[in-house]
């Protein structure tokens, strides 16, 4: 007993000693000398370069089947193509099937995945912008332009999917709940997007397809204007500026997808096969190769359109699922060989595919050019529009517009078959004012429950819970 008391006394002295030492700040928060941290990281432009690359890493997403990881653009097809009349799940299973039936729950994990992924991308862009002071004057405009291009791109995706959004324009901490959980009007979000893209156009050049470029910012700003149904003349000028930047259509449609970084690509998210920088969406689109039994399978609706209007694009758009011949898969972005189509892939593990995701390509800009000239009208016969339209049609093995007048319906159809399964269809329908008509008819035919409020996704319930109810939910969701 006595011994123990002695030991306790010794221990007390030790505790006192530790307490005394701990008063020194260095002891509590020593600056690591061999590792980087947020407070000391940004010292040179090379650190900013790493932060820029980090933005693309965020968009790329993690190749995993863990629901808690940010998969970013790898799950975008669920929220866009599978919510349009283009694709569906193969087996109508699980939360993935909520999209095609328009019965999306606010607890849907994919809805949450995309939301938090792209706010994380915004955080990464804001991190760059917060440390522009270490940039050299020579590169300042380019670095700022690149970060603002990515921030605008992320907000543009989010605002079209979720509507009013929290506006985060700086690096915030968890206690900044008012910024994090106050939704501002879409018009305010669009103001930021337009300002950011204008800055990007001024600061960037066309030196990369895998990073933000001037042409990408021009094309994106044109799409932003078209989406708002405003500034059609500016949109046309932006398209023409991007069109005059050296991009050309690939003569063979297949090469758009199987010849990476080809002449048609304006902006793509790069992936590297069999590595940590690979993607798994290509595998998910196959029959039980990825985690699902098969998603983003084509609808009969889109196959009818492709058969009628696709020209030689149809062959490289969908194919029979040989394991289940009543089903049809997407051909774009295949992670495997298809001898019949002459497609080869050098990936070993199909769930670690290297196919880049195309965000903007020249054909999209040409068709936006037609749309800008149409300027919200029902048709156009302007020669410049006919010329752009003809380029896309000729590459598809078709002829120019027969009667010299491109109608809105013809343009919408052309976009559908040219850009099928590239996550454009839903946004096109909304932009053309046809979403409610077409999707309610489609939903009726396929047994879904489409309502007008399904044109926006729910704000993820997880965010609403974190906000303690401060974040409001979109109409039509609980």
């Amino acid at each position: 007993m006595k011994n123990i008391t002695k030991h306790i006394k010794k221990l007390n002295i030790l505790i006192i000693a530790i307490t005394l030492f701990s008063c020194s700040e260095d002891f509590l928060s020593p600056a690591p000398t061999s590792a980087l941290n947020a407070a000391t990281f940004f010292e040179t432009e090379a650190d900013l370069e790493a932060a820029l690359v980090n933005m693309y890493d965020g968009i790329q997403g993690v190749n995993s089947t863990q629901s808690n990881d940010n998969h970013a653009i790898q799950v975008e097809f669920y929220l866009t193509e599978m919510r349009s009349d283009n694709t569906r799940t193969k087996s109508s299973e699980g939360e993935a099937a909520q999209f095609e039936s328009y019965s999306i729950e606010s607890t849907n994990g994919i809805v949450d995945d995309y939301y938090r992924s792209f706010y994380n991308v915004i955080f990464r862009a804001n991190t760059v912008l917060a440390h522009l002071d270490v940039a050299t004057s020579e590169n300042l405009a380019k670095i700022e332009g690149e970060a603002k291009f990515i921030r605008a791109y992320a907000y543009f995706n989010l605002v079209r999917l979720y509507g009013d959004l929290p506006l985060v324009t700086s690096v915030i901490s968890p206690v900044d709940t008012d910024i994090q959980f106050t939704r501002v009007a879409t018009s305010t979000i669009y103001d930021l997007i337009e300002t950011d893209l204008s800055t990007a156009i001024g600061g960037l050049d066309n030196s990369s397809k895998l990073r933000g470029s001037k042409a990408a910012a021009q094309a994106l700003l044109a799409k932003v204007y078209l989406t708002q149904g405003a500034n059609y003349t500016e949109a046309q000028q932006l398209c023409e500026a991007a069109m005059g930047s050296g991009f050309t259509l690939e003569p063979n449609f297949k090469d758009v997808f199987y010849s990476e970084l080809n002449n048609e690509i304006i902006f793509a998210i790069g992936y590297q096969e069999d590595s940590d920088d690979s993607q798994n969406f290509s595998a998910e689109w196959l029959n039980a190769v990825g985690r699902t039994s098969g998603v983003n399978y084509t609808t009969s609706d889109v196959r009818t359109a492709l058969d009628a209007l696709g020209g030689n694009r149809t062959l490289y758009s969908y194919r029979v699922d040989t394991d289940q011949p009543t089903q049809f898969q997407v051909v774009k972005y295949l992670p495997e060989d298809d001898d019949a189509l002459g497609i080869t892939s050098n990936v070993t593990d199909r769930t670690k595919a290297g196919n880049d995701w195309i965000v903007l390509r020249y054909a999209d800009v040409l068709l936006m050019h037609v749309e800008a000239i149409m300027a919200g009208g029902n048709d156009t016969s302007v020669q410049a529009a006919l010329d752009s339209f003809e380029l896309v049609r000729l590459r598809a093995g078709l002829t120019a517009d027969a009667d010299g007048t491109i109608t809105k319906q013809e343009l919408l159809d052309e976009r559908r078959v040219e850009l099928a399964f590239e996550n454009h269809r839903l946004f096109d329908l909304i932009r053309f004012g046809e979403a409610q008509n077409i999707l309610s008819a489609f939903s009726t035919a396929t047994g879904g429950s489409f309502n007008a409020t399904d044109l926006l996704l729910p704000i993820p319930q997880r965010e609403i819970n974190l906000s303690l109810g401060q974040l409001t939910q979109n109409q039509g969701y609980n």
């Binding site: 000239i373 409610q436 008509n437 007008a452 109409q475």
Partner: protein
């Protein structure tokens, strides 16, 4: 110990009694007086969009139901038609003002009514803007407010000196523009136009015949030009007139052009080598 036991026995008895009395009270309360209010009553709301397309599609309206906490809906369209769809479409008979009323109800029978009067208008295909060229014939006092020296609308000192005015020969009115042979004077004017539209610019010129020379009228993209070289680089179309058959007879020129992605264009007149006169501008949309 005995006391404690006593207490234990009595506690449930009292409790039971208390509950019984309470529940009796509830039973004899008038119905609804103590019931819960409908904490989420319906709130009716909707938006709508006009059909876009050829023919009569403009009469077709799609309605988007934005009601909350409701389960059944009744839509009433002025004229007597009704619908119980969530998001109905309706074809109006024609142009006019029509009241649309949405009654949203929940399962408790609580209603909310929202009405809006919709103005149905057939969209007009906008005609191309016909721009107004100011002081087109270089006449004095021809501006809207009765002022002007015939060339006030044509000045741009960053591009060149101001033109002179001649009274003979003229093609129209009593004055025309004169560009001396030194070729250091210009005329410049900005016009608001419709993009992607065809126009024809018409004017008349004549050249003196002592030296070989010409007069050029250029149509430039955009406005705000402040440098001659970059202004000429922005040209959409130009015409160099070099007909020196007669120094007193005017020659008519028609320049057709398409405005492309421009909502503002500029006219720039320069001359080369010999004194030139220009008169009577007009522009027409095709």
């Amino acid at each position: 110990m005995k006391n404690k036991f006593k207490n234990i026995i009595w506690l449930p008895v009292f409790a039971l009694l208390a509950f019984t009395i309470q529940s009796c009270e509830d039973q004899f309360e008038p119905a609804g007086a103590n019931s819960k209010a409908d904490e989420t009553p319906p709130m009716a709301s909707f938006s709508y969009s006009q059909g876009q397309g050829d023919g009569e599609v403009w009469k077709d309206y799609s309605f988007a139901n934005l009601s909350t906490s409701a389960t059944t809906y009744v839509w009433e369209f002025e004229g007597g038609a009704t619908s119980s769809d969530v998001d109905p479409t309706f074809t109006f008979p024609g142009e006019g003002l029509f009241m649309v009323t949405l009654t949203a109800s929940d399962a408790l029978g609580v209603d909310s009514v929202f009405s809006e009067t919709i103005e149905v208008v057939e969209p007009e295909i906008p005609n191309a803007i016909v721009p107004e060229i100011l002081e087109p014939s270089f006449e004095d006092n021809s501006l809207a407010d009765g002022s002007g020296d015939g060339r006030d609308s044509w000045r741009n000192s960053a591009l060149g000196g101001v033109i002179q005015i001649t009274s003979s020969p003229v093609q129209n009115g009593s004055q025309a523009a004169k560009f001396p042979s030194a070729a250091d004077r210009i005329a410049y004017q900005e016009l608001t136009v419709s993009p992607n539209s065809d126009y024809i610019l018409t004017y008349y010129y004549t050249l003196k015949t002592n030296n070989s020379g010409s007069v050029t009228v250029s149509v430039l993209a955009e406005g705000g030009h402040a440098d001659l070289a970059s202004a000429l680089a922005a040209k959409i179309v130009d015409f160099e007139g070099s007909d020196q058959t007669s120094s007193s007879d005017y020659v008519q020129v028609n320049i057709p052009f398409n405005t492309g992605a421009q909502s503002v264009i500029s006219i720039l007149i320069t001359n080369q080598g010999e004194e030139a006169r220009v008169d009577n501008f007009s522009i027409a949309a095709q």
